[in-house]
Symmetry: C2
Subunit: 181 residues, 2 copies
C-alpha cells in the first residue's frame, strides 16, 4: 500500500523521550511539491477486552495527564522491546486486573492517530477468566482502579464521557457483538 | 473525574509545530512521588461515517507518512481554530467526498491516544447523502481516493489491514449495528 507515496527528503529528530520521540520529515508529494510532516514514534501497545463468564467486561480507571482527568478504559499497555504481543497482552491483563484467561484471542490491530503517530494497538479478547493468586505488579507510577460492568453500564459511561477513548469505544461494540452471537 | 490526579509541578514546551506541539510535564503522583509525562497537544478532529441509501459506507484512501503506507479510512479532518465541530464535519465530508448529507447525527467523542496525546475525535454519522455539484477543495498537500463499499467488503479490508486505524474500526462496527437495527 504505497499509493500517493510521500518520499522522505529529510528527517529531523527533535526529541527522543522514554516513550515517544518526535521528528519533522520533509516529504515529496505525488505532484512533486514538498511538505513537512510532524511525526511521533511510539513503540505500540496491546489492549485486552476481558469478558467474564457472566457477560461483564473488566475496565480500569486511571488518570491520564494528557487529558488532565481520569478515564475508564479496557486494560492496555506498551509493548516492551522485543516482546511478543501475546506476551504483552497476558502480562498487562495480569498486572492491571489480576486475572488470567483460559481463552485468549487476537482480534485486530489498528493505528490510533495515523495523521501524526505510528502507534499501533493490538486488540485481544480474553475469556474464561480466573483470579491469579499473587499477580505481578504493574508500573510503579501507575495508579488504577478496577471495575466490572455490564455492556449497558459501559454504554452509559460512554454517554457521560467517563469512557472516553477509541480502543474502549471499539471494545464495547465488539463485546456486544460477541455476547449477542 | 480527577481520581488519582497528577498535579503539574512544571511544564516544558519543547516543540510547537503547525499541527502538534510537545511538552514534558513533571507531575506529582497520588503517593507524593514525581514522574515525567511526555505529552502531545493536538487541536482535535472530526470523523464522519457516511452511509449511503443502499447501505454502503464511503471511505477514502490516503498516504499516511507516520505509517509509511496508505490506508483506507472514514473521512476525517482537523478542527480549524474556533470552528464548531458540526461545521468541521460538514466541511470535511464535502472536501473529501464531494457529498452533502440530509441527516447528520453526532455519535460520540473519544481520545485516540490518551497515554500521550490530547487529540479528541468527534464522530458523526451522515445519511441521506447527495452529490454536491462543485464541492469545495481540500488541503493542497492531501491526495485522496474515494471508494464505496459494503460492510462485508470493509470487514475484508480490516482482515488484510488495508483498513488499519481506530476510528474506522469503530465506524465499521457502528455502521453494522445501525444497518441491522
Amino acid at each position: 500500500m504505497n499509493r500517493f507515496e510521500e518520499k522522505t527528503v529529510s528527517s529531523d529528530l527533535l526529541f527522543e523521550g522514554k516513550i515517544i520521540s518526535l521528528r519533522v520529515d520533509e516529504v515529496e508529494l505525488p505532484d512533486g511539491k514538498r511538505a513537512k510532516r510532524e511525526l511521533i514514534d511510539h513503540p505500540g501497545a496491546v489492549a485486552i477486552i476481558p469478558v467474564t463468564d457472566d457477560g461483564k467486561i473488566i475496565l480500569v480507571e486511571q488518570y491520564r495527564k494528557a487529558l488532565n482527568r481520569s478515564i475508564i478504559e479496557i486494560p492496555a499497555g506498551k509493548i516492551e522491546p522485543g516482546e511478543e504481543i501475546e506476551v504483552t497482552a497476558l502480562r498487562e491483563l495480569e498486572e492491571e486486573t489480576g486475572y488470567g484467561a483460559n481463552q485468549f484471542e487476537y482480534v485486530q490491530s489498528f493505528a490510533t492517530s495515523p495523521g501524526f503517530a505510528n502507534e499501533i494497538i493490538h486488540i485481544f479478547v480474553a475469556q474464561g477468566l480466573y483470579k491469579i493468586d499473587k499477580p505481578a505488579a504493574g508500573d510503579e507510577d501507575e495508579f488504577i482502579e478496577l471495575m466490572e460492568c455490564t455492556i449497558e453500564e459501559a454504554e452509559e459511561m460512554v454517554l457521560d464521557q467517563r469512557i472516553y477513548d477509541a480502543k474502549t469505544a471499539f471494545a464495547i461494540l465488539y463485546a456486544k457483538k460477541i455476547l449477542k452471537d
